[in-house]
Point group: C2
Chain length 295, copies 2
């Protein structure tokens, strides 16, 4: 595990460096660029980027393509958090231990920060300098666009609002999370495969299954942490789900069965990547990290 911790340390620093490099320069005319920077560089765990980099250990992809995919994914994730924190959505004043964007700046700025981050993501992915086959590049854009829209993240958000204060089934909860958080995690991993100019279909299928399992495991773990962790460790307001009367894996299954379900997806993720042999080391370690995380 020591080797993985070195890798993690290096890659986390690399992600911050790449994000900062691709952020807009601060502008003195409006607070928009400053607010964008604030919302992206706020100490996130960069779990999606680390998954992209773990996939990049399996396939051979141009570093510049991986860099832009990392930025696109983190920018989209940051946009979703900024909009999700707004008063008309989850109305959360804290994000990763700091004021959320609309509290630090204003609601109108938060709205524009999210809107801008989405378009910057697509600008980065359509850059002429990615060194990948243009057809693959178009497929990467198509996958991300679909993962965050009405058959992806936005639908998940809409279902989340729809489900608040309602008794829903486990199936419906799973569907909601597959859209809300799963689709972006899934697309992040698939984009990393597609960035390789000689990927094979089997690799794409394995990564597809792996990332779907990881997405659900991540969400179940999130629900458990929301209940068990303190605000200090979590960096955001805990117990939010209960307060808003939202169905969670915990409220539907209880703590023991939730942990069992997380373990089931963890095993699934580990099993499917076995054909990669030793190369699967970082993917397996990422799965373990997500499974055992305390915040």
């Amino acid at each position: 595990m020591n080797d993985f911790h070195d890798w993690l340390f290096q890659k986390q620093a690399f992600v911050e460096f790449v994000l900062e490099k691709n952020l807009p320069k601060a502008s003195d005319e409006t607070h928009l660029n400053e607010a964008i920077k604030y919302s992206v560089l706020n100490g996130g765990k960069r779990m999606r980027s680390l998954l992209v980099l773990a996939v990049a250990e399996i396939v051979e992809a141009p570093p510049i393509a991986i860099e832009n995919i990392i930025c696109a994914v983190e920018f989209i994730h940051a946009y979703s958090l900024v909009h999700d924190d707004m008063p008309c959505m989850d109305n959360d004043d804290l994000r990763r231990g700091k004021l959320s964007c609309h509290k630090k700046f204003s609601e109108s700025t938060a709205l524009l920060v999210g809107d801008s981050l989405q378009s910057i993501a697509f600008s980065l992915l359509s850059s002429p300098s990615l060194q990948i086959n243009p057809k693959n590049q178009l497929q990467i854009i198509h996958i991300l666009a679909n993962a965050i829209g009405i058959e992806g993240m936005a639908k998940g958000q809409a279902l989340d609002i729809e489900n608040t204060n309602k008794k829903i089934s486990l199936d419906k909860l799973m569907v909601m999370h597959r859209f809300k958080t799963g689709a972006l995690i899934n697309s992040a991993c698939l984009m990393a495969v597609l960035a390789s100019n000689n990927y094979d279909k089997k690799t794409l299928d394995i990564i597809d299954t792996y990332s779907k399992s990881i997405g659900l495991m991540f969400q179940i773990k999130d629900d458990i942490l929301d209940k068990e962790a303190s605000q200090e460790v979590l960096g955001k307001t805990p117990g939010k789900d209960e307060k808003y009367n939202k169905a969670t894996f915990l409220s539907l299954l209880g703590i023991t069965k939730s942990k069992e379900l997380a373990a089931k997806y963890y095993e699934e993720a580990l099993t499917v990547i076995k054909p990669f042999g030793d190369k699967a080391y970082y993917l397996a370690s990422m799965a373990e990290l997500i499974m055992t995380r305390s915040h």
Copy 2:
């Protein structure tokens, strides 16, 4: 002009047909798809689409590419209106004579409608079926992404907020409008050229200048109409700029000089397209339509 009116009538119907075809099917789980449909199919003038179609009369582009560009541009335009009408922005209850999205549905739905429309636009432009050179297709996506972000529409919105209740110069007003409305109009026209697999650089340059002139002319005309037209004709709350103490061409230049400036950009647009000869007919007619519109 009769010929142009026939063209206009046909093309407007065509745009509505194409938009409806590419809208998501109504879903019974959430109001998201319904709200998206409501916000796009609300009787807009489709000025941007008509400009795309007028450019398509000059170049030879695959119809499917033009269709998707039209949808992408109208979806982005609709997203900007939905977010712009929200309480934290312009707080407008009316849009084209109907309740704005957040009044008809909810603020959270309006937020997600805008977010979704942006991603649907990029999904359409990255579709594998556009029948254009993948490199051109990537360039189309890149142009749109840049036109609506922090060096485009979103920056224009941020400047608009920043400029409210301030005395600003004509130069600053022009810069704001170039970003806020000009960039999308410009990119719409450029995308139509790039959809042609054998366009020449000179055509791209001419359309670039034409569309920039049209954009400014459109905005000056908008300011004049905001002052002169009634709510019934305009379909939205008139006198809004005055109410919010926003600088306009009228407040800075007065009515006569504003009309002269609009006429100047009209002439510029007509002059630059002369090399197209008879083919420029629809572009010239579109310029005239925008110049003489009463709403």
